[in-house]
Amino acid sequence: MVPITYYLLLAAALFCMGMFGVLVRRNALVVFMSVELMLNAANLTFVAFARMRGDNLGHVSAFFVIAVAAAEAAIGLAIVIAVFRSRGSILLEDLRTMKH
């Protein structure tokens, strides 16, 4: 029997890797993939706690997170396409018109 702590630590590590990608990478697409990693880490936490409590509600929460992630990916990628069309680049450092 694997302790639930191992699963939670794995989820924390995945979340931190996703956060690292969001903070450090310059390519907007890779930043989106890192956000997906973070959402997956949250899902893993939900499922691990569901196993710890013997309760199905964590699975239902994970189901909703998956649905919201699908909506987020569709909108986010549409924004990436729109930005690439108007700027010709999806590097985050080129998108700074709102900074000044």
């Binding site: 029997m1 694997v2 302790p3 639930i4 702590t5 699963y7 939670l8 794995l10 590590a13 995945l14 979340f15 931190c16 890797m17 996703g18 956060m19 690292f20 990608g21 903070l23 450090v24 310059r26 390519n27 697409l29 890779v30 989106f32 993939m33 890192s34 997906e36 990693l37 997956n40 893993l44 499922v47 569901a50 710890m52 013997g54 309760d55 199905n56 699975h59 239902v60 994970a62 189901f63 909703f64 998956i66 649905a67 992630a69 699908a70 909506a71 987020e72 990916a73 569709a74 909108i75 990628l77 549409a78 924004i79 990436v80 396409i81 729109a82 690439f84 069309r85 999806i90 450092e93």
Partner: protein
Amino acid sequence: MNIELILFGAFALLTLLSAGTVIFARSPINSAMALVSTFFFMAGIYVLLWAHTVAVMQVLVYAGAIMVLFLFVIMLLNLGESSTRGKPTVARVAGGAATVGLFAVLAIILLKLPAEPATLSTGAQASFGTIATMGQVIFTQWLFPFEAVSLLLLVAMVGAVVVAKSRI
């Protein structure tokens, strides 16, 4: 050393390796393929947690639908490898340090939680994480969030078309 621990170790190691490839790969297409393998290995971990339905949805929705969307966009934009690596600015170094700090804090908290999984009776174990039990909860107790999510998906679909289209 039981088989469950070995399987968990293998899946966890492969998940972390693929996640590392997602963050550090030079070309976005390598990141996307590594993300697909991350999702597959995480589905294995869900099965180890008796969440069979979530594991199947992970493969269908994430590794299937969402990653196809990502690959379509990468090929549509025809991105090459990033030739230059970004300079390590102050914000980036601070971000990396914050990540390590966050993991340390999370680990300290998580290690204080109880680690024992629930012991279920044979009947409860047979129905744990199946579509039937999940559906019962979704369509009675969580009906309103379920309908809200369906509306959200509709709005996201219309919004994606409106945003990505050049002329409407």
